[in-house]
């Protein structure tokens, strides 16, 4: 097992790791305050400063994924989505901005379809099994592949080759990264997560989402995202190609880890969950297209 210290020098330009855009930081700081200290007025004000974030809040609140309401004002959208979901949206926008257009070697639409899909499946699974914080599962699902962004920024060409090789061989991306780069997006994602002072739980998800057996921190959350990530990669919310795999999720060790703490998992109708994912595919695509297609058009 490669240690992080061995990896660090190998990630070129690590010193210039992206920082959270200065315009977003105050909003994030506000959203992360204890619930009773968050001022909705201030959040509305800060969100309104940023037209992309404001538009995405409205779009998400009005999306079928969120129950399709008729929210016309940013304030209503924020009230409907809740602080946690706003944080996820802000983080998504933030991540989207740290990658320069020419470095998106993985199509941003593909990346966000997978990330949003994983967020939705994680929170859905969390609700089904009685995990106490489904919004945390949502955020963890959304951000689990942070390291892919790091790799695109820090080693663009090598990562492009990894992606191509993974695509050609129909193998999971992290396996090719390990072979080709000597590390994978779990490790590089962890470095950025620590730099950005993510919570230990979130950092654990980013670090262990391909190797959750079991994670030393937040094992149920990591297992939830691990299983959701697998499901998404098996349901057309993948990294843009079919992996040659057949997986019995109930035989995964992560399944047992999760079931230990959440016995309701044993009775979850997995086939139905899968069909629900298929059913929401169009909505995920439309939300992602609406938000990220213009970005891609500008990039190309």
């Amino acid at each position: 097992m490669t240690t992080l210290e061995e990896i660090r020098p190998r990630i070129k330009a690590l010193e210039s790791m992206p920082t959270i855009p200065a315009t977003i930081q105050p909003l994030l700081d506000m959203l992360r305050l204890p619930a009773e200290e968050v001022s909705i007025e201030k959040v509305v004000e800060l969100v309104s400063y940023d037209s992309t974030i404001a538009a995405q809040c409205l779009r998400m609140a009005n999306s079928p994924l969120f129950g399709r309401r008729n929210m016309e004002t940013v304030r209503n959208a924020i009230m409907a989505l809740g602080i946690k979901r706003i944080e996820a949206i802000v983080m998504g926008c933030c991540l989207n901005r740290i990658v320069p257009p020419e470095k998106w070697v993985l199509d941003p639409v593909v990346f966000w379809r997978h990330s949003l899909g994983c967020a939705l499946v994680s929170s859905k699974m969390a609700k089904l099994i009685g995990y106490p914080d489904p919004e945390k599962a949502y955020l963890a699902g959304l951000l689990h592949d942070l390291g892919i962004l790091v790799n695109m920024i820090a080693c663009t060409d090598e990562f492009r080759q990894c992606l191509q090789k993974a695509h050609d061989e129909r193998v999971a991306l992290h396996i090719i990264e390990d072979q080709f780069l000597g590390f994978n997006h779990c490790q590089s994602g962890k470095i950025l997560a620590e730099q950005w002072k993510f919570s230990p739980d979130l950092t654990a998800v980013i670090e262990f989402h391909h190797n959750p057996n079991p994670a030393p921190v937040a094992a149920p959350l990591v297992a939830t995202v691990y299983l959701s990530d697998l499901l998404c990669r098996l349901r057309d919310l993948d990294h843009g190609y079919y992996e040659a795999m057949g997986i019995d999720l109930t035989a995964e060790r992560a399944w047992a880890t999760l079931a230990e703490q959440h016995p309701a998992l044993a009775n979850m109708d997995l086939a139905r969950l899968t069909m629900d994912i298929d059913g929401s595919m169009e909505d995920i695509t439309s939300v992602v297209d609406a938000v990220f297609k213009p970005h891609r058009a500008a990039a190309s």
Partner: protein, 302 residues
């Protein structure tokens, strides 16, 4: 036969879909048939119900739900609704993810397990083959992979249905543009010959791989003689069985399959609470049910 999405179906008003009766009907159908309509596909269910509501002269979904649950002829009505839901023609190469799973994972797995034992023969069964689109697709798929993946192997496809008319059409193997819409020009040339101006007929080579037979899945005396199958395809057939018969058919399928064999159902069908010996296995874009070999140690449920 796979559930078809009828193009002519108009999306009912969104307000209508909020009627909780539709979700109740959806869940009832799922429990009874294993066919599941997601929230996003509820409009489709609603439109099918509308047809039956017109026929039964009911005006609200709630009233129609009563027809399905309380009235004396509820079983017959449910059957008629299920017929509406599964209506629609199918076509060849409908499920590409299924064929991809076969090619990249399932067949290599089965070939490796069987090759070592010296049996170089594959047996596939299309149970409920309707007018034959599925078995012909499988036959083309096998022939296309005969050079590399299946080199040195022989294979046969059993195609069965209860309906004599469907079976006769399947044997004739005559198809129009709809059935061939996803079949490439190259495959059409290779495996079909002109029949009339608008239709093509399967070549004898293609037909020779398939054995057509009338099989009633409820007929125990016939089912117990089907042995050594590697793969069973049974799409939207289970809807015609009640839970007890479904369980019985699954027991047969389980016995019909070799250890390590796979069962494929229709894309919206599930075995949840029908059978727990099969393992649900996910492949990219498709799911399948796997018969574990004896002594398989991977825990199904913790």
């Amino acid at each position: 036969m796979e559930t078809g999405v009828a193009k002519s179906v108009a999306k009912p008003e969104t307000e209508d879909l909020k009627d909780p009766a539709y979700r109740k009907i959806r869940d009832m159908i799922y429990q009874i048939s294993g066919i599941y309509q997601t929230d996003e596909k509820l409009y489709l269910l609603a439109s099918r119900c509308t047809r039956r509501m017109n026929a039964t002269k009911t005006t609200t979904p709630a009233e129609y739900l009563d027809h399905l649950t309380l009235r004396g002829n509820r079983d017959a009505e449910l059957r008629l609704l299920l017929n509406e839901i599964t209506i629609g023609e199918t076509y060849m190469f409908r499920s590409v993810p299924q064929l991809e799973a076969l090619r990249t994972v399932i067949l290599p797995q089965i070939l490796a397990a069987k090759g070592g034992m010296g049996f170089k023969r594959l047996r596939l069964w299309s149970a409920g083959c309707s007018t034959g689109e599925e078995p012909y697709t499988l036959a083309m798929f096998l022939l296309e992979n005969s050079d590399k993946l299946l080199s040195g192997w022989t294979y046969e496809i059993l195609a069965s249905d209860l309906n004599d008319n469907s079976l006769a059409a399947a044997k004739a193997g005559i198809y129009g543009e709809y059935a061939l819409r996803s079949t490439s020009e190259a495959l059409r040339k290779k495996y079909f010959k002109p029949y009339d101006e608008k239709r093509l007929q399967a070549t004898d080579q293609l037909k020779s791989l398939i054995r057509f037979d009338r099989v009633n899945l409820n007929d125990d005396s016939k089912m117990i003689f089907l042995k050594g199958l590697d793969l069973i395809f049974c799409c939207n057939v289970l809807i015609y069985f009640d839970l007890a018969s479904k369980r019985k058919v699954m027991q047969h399928f389980f016995a019909n399959l070799i250890p390590g064999g796979y069962l494929f159902l229709g894309h919206a069908e599930s075995l949840y609470q029908v059978d727990d010996r099969f393992h649900l296995v996910h492949f990219p874009g498709t799911i399948s049910y796997w018969k574990p070999p004896a002594g398989f140690s991977g825990a199904k449920k913790p």
